[in-house]
């Protein structure tokens, strides 16, 4: 062994043609991780940031202190939201491939993150999503037609044609505008939470980013401000292992868990099985109660796997083993919740098939309605004059002049 310093390069477990290898993912048995009191001191629960909170075991039973004991009806709603998210994603992927929309990002395999977390929070809590959190839109009841119209940049687009597909927002439903720039939402959510504390309200903010984005300085700004002011915020790092072609080791996941950044800044950090609906729900509920009772911020690392390409512009076959997803040790969130519901006698294969068919029909009908408001190729089209609005509250002279020039140009 050379004693010289040498540039270390994080090891990528399986490149194309290699055998998938997830031995690097540290697992804890379901039910094994203790659940501290919500007001426990961060320094007294350091182990939460390296172990893995799990509730559903391999046989579909819910076990251990994190079992949230939800009503079966809530679990059925969760299953429905996850399946609707996936059905929506599949349709939009096909529409992008067919040239109907310019771009799309799926959340395949990560549905439990957005759906369980969204359900564990109150409607008055403010959400600062990343671009792979469409499940939050579903939980908050945004009609699929509205989401689709955004991806079409059509006459009913909430963004008035200004944003890439999937960059939704809903002020009325406390869903902040999604940015195409990574990590920016993290410290913004902290600011929102600081304002809630300043105003004496008990609403909290929650925000999401991928583990790759946690390399950005904004991640560290968020943790620092959240810790200094003990802001009522839940900071979620969705560790789906891949940031386009960049493996999580390149974001620093090789040396230490992402959740462990939390205790590093003096806040609670919890590592959770992101494909376990019950565990995700329980951990989020714990963090929410902690935030609402003055316990400050929590950093949650949701360990999951990006089942699809980064986006429709990406081809993961170029950089990761083709059958990687099939070997992912934490399974599929929808199948796992379904198996649990069947195990407790609250679901059946037949009911599942019926729901899948119903959701397919809902998505198809929504698409039909959405395209009636226009597509990229067929009218009706948004008025191009809209391009000049909302740059400022009031349109300045230079934009008024340019708007007139643009009209003239289009008529020439």
């Amino acid at each position: 062994m050379s004693k010289k310093s040498r540039l270390h390069l994080p090891r990528v477990p399986a490149r194309p043609g290699e055998k998938p290898d997830f031995s690097y993912v540290q697992l804890s048995p379901a039910g094994a991780v203790p659940r501290p009191e919500v007001n426990a001191r961060a320094r007294d629960m350091m182990s939460l940031s390296v172990e893995l909170v799990r509730v559903l075991d391999d046989s579909g039973d819910a076990v251990g202190p994190w079992h949230p004991h939800l009503d079966a009806s809530d679990l059925q709603v969760g299953l429905r939201h996850m399946l609707l998210t996936r059905t929506y994603d599949e349709r939009m992927q096909r529409m992008q491939r067919g040239g109907k929309i310019s771009f799309y990002i799926r959340s395949l395999g990560e549905e439990a993150v957005s759906v369980a977390q969204g359900m564990a929070l109150r409607p008055s809590d403010m959400l600062f999503p990343g671009y792979r959190n469409q499940g939050l839109q579903v939980v908050r009841g945004i009609p699929l037609v509205d989401l689709m119209c955004q991806t079409l940049s059509n006459t009913k687009d909430m963004c008035k044609g200004r944003q890439l597909p999937v960059m939704y927002h809903s002020r009325a439903n406390n869903l902040f505008s999604i940015s195409g720039n990574l990590a920016t939402q993290f410290p913004q959510a902290v600011g929102w939470a600081m304002a809630a504390a300043i105003k004496g309200e008990d609403n909290l903010a929650a925000t999401w980013m991928g583990e790759g984005s946690s390399a950005e300085a904004d991640f560290h700004h968020a943790l620092l401000f959240a810790s200094v002011y003990q802001a009522p915020v839940i900071l979620n790092v969705v560790n789906n292992q891949w940031a386009i072609s960049t493996f999580q080791g390149y974001a620093g996941g090789e040396q230490r868990s992402f959740a462990a950044r939390g205790p590093g800044y003096g806040m609670a950090g919890i590592r959770v099985d992101g494909n376990d609906f019950l565990a995700v729900y329980a951990v989020t509920q714990w963090a929410a109660e902690r935030a609402r009772t003055g316990g400050g911020p929590t950093l949650i690392e949701l360990v999951t796997y990006r089942g699809a390409a980064h986006s429709t512009s990406d081809d993961p076959a170029r950089y990761r083993a083709k059958d990687d997803a099939e070997h992912w040790p934490l399974g599929d969130p929808i199948l796992r919740l379904k198996a649990h519901l069947i195990k407790i006698g609250e679901w059946s294969e037949a009911r599942h098939q019926a729901m899948a068919a119903e959701l397919e029909a809902l998505v198809a009908a929504s698409w039909k309605e959405a395209v009636s408001f226009g597509t990229m190729t067929e009218g009706p089209r948004l008025d191009a004059d809209l391009m000049f609005e909302d740059v400022f509250k009031e349109m300045p002279q230079n934009l008024q002049r340019q708007q007139a020039l643009m009209r003239k140009e289009r008529n020439s």
């Binding site: 390069l9 771009f103 008035k160 890439l164 195409g180 620093g252 950089y319 000049f388």
Partner: protein, 338 residues
């Protein structure tokens, strides 16, 4: 000579420099194993190893700062920022550090860093994948700013930038990666193999900074432009049958004032065109210089063609883009002033 598109030309430049100079390293997001989201670094990690073609965390501030650190320790980093729209987390390191390290240390430290970054619209990228922020950097003393319009220049300029002892931001108009684009999105795409500047020397060669290229000689009007707009200007002038002298400035900093001003003094008319927003755009700098140097030769007010002063809207890409209609209107205005 070989047919190359702009991606292949850039790849060739980096390949040659990695082979020629052991201090050259590449770094950036997805650039190593994957070869870059636009494939500009494809095959280079395999050829030169993981210590010379380095995948980085997603942290543009970290990329620029560590490139600076490497450069003052004897390396010559070529850093890729995946989209110009993502360069801003690195802004402080570029403006406060990279641009001034030579000045503040009285020349004892310098930072030969090249930052490559794809810019411009026309690819349905919306407001976060379409920006042309070059003038933000031209306003900072100590940074060179370059934007090629074709594969030949891209390769020669990139080699020059890598060898340059000062930091450079090298903007690559991504709409031109696969072919020249005359501003009409409805026409079938044309590959670089149909264009003379798609013929590129396979070996080492340089295109100097601060030397504009006269793309077309003419007598009636001077069009000063760079990047994607070079091709739009050529097409618009041809469509109007105007004998335009079209100048591709290629490097914004340093700027070839002599070539620009001798042309305007000759033609007496001037149009400045860029894709970036108009207000405080680089066109304003060119226009000012022309006014100062060529005022008595001007037959008409100088015209500016630019993107509108709004973010780049996803749905209105072609209403936003300064296409041939906008260039023609400016040409008409300058040829027949009211």
């Amino acid at each position: 000579m070989a047919n190359m598109n702009m991606i292949q030309a850039l790849n060739s430049a980096m390949d040659i420099m990695l082979g020629k100079d052991p201090s050259v390293v590449l770094m950036g997001e997805d650039i190593g194993y994957f070869g870059g989201v636009f494939r500009a670094t494809e095959g280079l990690q395999r050829k030169y190893g993981e210590h010379r073609v380095i995948d980085t965390p997603i942290a543009e501030g970290g990329i620029v700062a560590t490139a600076l650190g490497m450069s003052v320790n004897g390396l010559r980093p070529v850093a890729e920022i995946q989209f110009a729209d993502y360069i801003y987390p690195g802004f402080d390191q570029i403006v406060s550090e990279l641009a001034r390290i030579r000045y503040r240390s009285a020349g004892d430290f310098f930072a030969p860093v090249t930052i490559r970054t794809p810019c411009g619209g026309g690819i349905r990228g919306g407001q976060t994948h379409s920006q042309s922020p070059e003038s933000i950097f031209t306003h900072v003393s100590g940074i060179k700013v370059v934007m090629p319009s074709n594969p030949f220049d891209a390769k020669g300029l990139l080699i020059t930038c890598i060898e340059d002892d000062d930091p450079v931001v090298f903007f690559e108009p991504k709409r031109l990666y696969n072919g020249p684009f005359d501003g009409d999105p409805n026409k079938p795409a044309v590959p670089w193999s149909t264009h003379p500047k798609g013929q590129v020397d396979e070996g080492y060669f340089k295109v100097p900074l601060g030397k504009a290229d006269i793309v077309r000689a003419g007598a009636a009007v001077t069009i000063i432009t760079y990047g994607t707009m070079v091709h739009v200007a050529v097409a618009a002038a041809a469509a109007l049958n105007v004998d335009a002298e079209i100048i591709d400035i290629r490097s914004l900093v340093p700027l070839d004032v002599d070539t620009i001003c001798s042309s305007v003094k000759k033609t007496g008319r001037c149009v400045v065109a860029h894709e970036a927003t108009r207000f405080s755009g680089f066109g304003a700098e060119i226009l000012s210089t022309v006014q100062e140097e060529c005022f008595w030769a001007l037959e008409a007010p100088i015209q500016r063609v630019a993107g509108w002063d709004t973010p780049y809207p996803h749905a209105f890409e072609w209403e936003y883009f300064p296409g041939q209609a906008r260039v023609k209107a400016a040409l008409k205005a300058v040829m027949e002033p009211a």
